[in-house]
């Protein structure tokens, strides 16, 4: 068990969600509000998709039965080509250019302005996917209800990875207990999460609601879920290109989208492994490994 916990700690350090937050903060410092919004534009969809994946992996919530699993979930989403550039707008500059977003090319782009002015736009991190790993606990079940929580807080000091804190709490309630003749086990789940990167650099809140259906075939349990995600993100950074530093806050519009999941759970006596595909704000995948009963 100790080895397993050690593995979890190691794995949760692989937080792709925090790609060099120190560098991110520095690059944002050269961008005014609307352009910072463009630079960060791929993140809301990717964060929404990954954070809201791998929350519930069964519709089978017993009416009254001890259940405790501790594990780690690894969720990822792919970025598309359209996520790699945006078009910055600079007052007084008639020209436009496709500048890299935070996930785009590492090369900066020079925007030529009137009279020979040049304004440089920072490069991105050149990443094609977005990963979050987080420990998750499921506890149940009482009156057909089980609680799910995930939490991680890592402070990697002055390193490029920076500070990250993710907290998620939710519950799943059995629907099939009221309809015993249903061919599949059904449960309604609600999950709320916050993710903070850096000291206020990125602040996100998300809510996931779904109905998960599953059916046992020996130790294998295929599952599917239909639901929706609601996601809100804001960024706060020091704008350093002016005469004096000023703190700029950028609020992104709330995103609400459908979330479809198909997956399979290998429900062994102690070890639980699952893999799933998600069609949400972006397409993604997740795997999870847990120990428990």
């Amino acid at each position: 068990m100790i080895r397993f916990v050690g593995f979890l700690v190691l794995l949760t350090l692989f937080m792709g969600a925090v790609p060099a937050s120190a560098q991110l903060s520095a690059n944002l410092g050269a961008l005014e509000g609307d352009n910072a919004r463009g630079y960060l534009s791929p993140l809301p969809n990717a964060l929404s998709s990954t954070m809201n994946s791998a929350v519930f992996r069964t519709g089978d919530v017993p009416k009254m039965k001890p259940r405790l699993t501790v594990g780690v979930e690894l969720m990822g989403a792919l970025f598309g080509d359209k996520d790699r550039t945006y078009t910055p707008v600079i007052p007084g500059y008639a020209n436009t250019v496709a500048a890299p977003t935070v996930v785009g090319s590492t090369e900066s782009v020079a925007l030529p302005g009137p009279g020979g002015f040049v304004l440089y736009h920072p490069g991105g991190l050149d990443i094609g996917e977005f990963l979050i790993a987080v420990p998750q606990v499921t506890v149940g079940s009482v009156f057909g209800t089980q609680a799910v929580g995930r939490w991680i807080s890592v402070d990697l000091g002055d390193s490029d990875l920076g500070k990250l804190e993710l907290l998620g709490l939710g519950a799943q309630h059995s629907i099939s207990q009221y309809f015993p003749r249903l061919p599949v086990a059904l449960a309604l789940g609600v999950f709320y999460q916050t993710l903070k990167i850096g000291d206020g650099l990125l602040d996100t809140k998300s809510t996931h609601v779904d109905v998960t259906g599953s059916r046992k075939f020996s130790f294998l349990q295929p599952y599917a879920a239909v639901g929706f995600d609601s996601f809100k993100m804001s960024a706060r950074y020091d704008y350093t290109a002016g005469e004096s530093d000023e703190t700029i806050s950028v609020d992104f519009d709330r995103k609400t989208n459908a979330h479809l999941t198909i997956g399979v759970l290998a429900d062994l006596p102690v070890v639980k492994f699952h893999a799933e595909l998600n069609a949400a704000a972006t397409t993604g995948a997740a795997v999870g490994l847990a120990l428990g009963f």
Partner: protein, 211 residues
Amino acid sequence: MHARSWLQPLALVLIASVAGSGCLLIPEVQKKTIDLAAGASTTIEFPVSGTIQSGTLDKTVDLTDLDLATVLSDAGIDVSNVKDVKLAGVEYRVSAADPVPSRQVQINDITIQVGTQAAQKLVASSFTDDVSSVYGFKLAPIDVASSAAVGEINGLLDNLLDNLKGGAPLNTSLRCTMSAASIPANASMDFTLELRLKVSVVGTMEVTVVE
């Protein structure tokens, strides 16, 4: 077909799909060299007290005022990794208002001169604005003719960068002159006009990312 006979292949397909999504879910730590951009600015103050005459709006400015070393340090860019530094804009504002309402200043042109023997080069021309109230920086009207002046300033920025790198000291100062008139004409004015030179700098930095 019996459920269990198709379920196992289906499960394998699903797991393979997850694992094969562009090698998604296999975290990899990578060192990358990434272009960082930063901005800096220096402001030239032109206090006006009395009538505007030739030489009233005339200042020498040293681009060391940009404090490029601090800008680079704050952005995490080592001076040896700077790729380029360029002038990105010229703006103006009134920072202290004339107490008499409806006073204006007409700027005929803004020129710069690098070296006492060099010709003055046009930066911006022909604009009129209120000086009876304080306002934020506005873009100075720049046209194609200003490219020579912009080139001169970019040359000074290159000098500034060379100086930071420890080279032999090179000139980083310029003379900035505004040809202007008050509205109403020959009125005794009391205001402060500021001109801001904005600079864009780009350099590289090595970062660690996980994907």
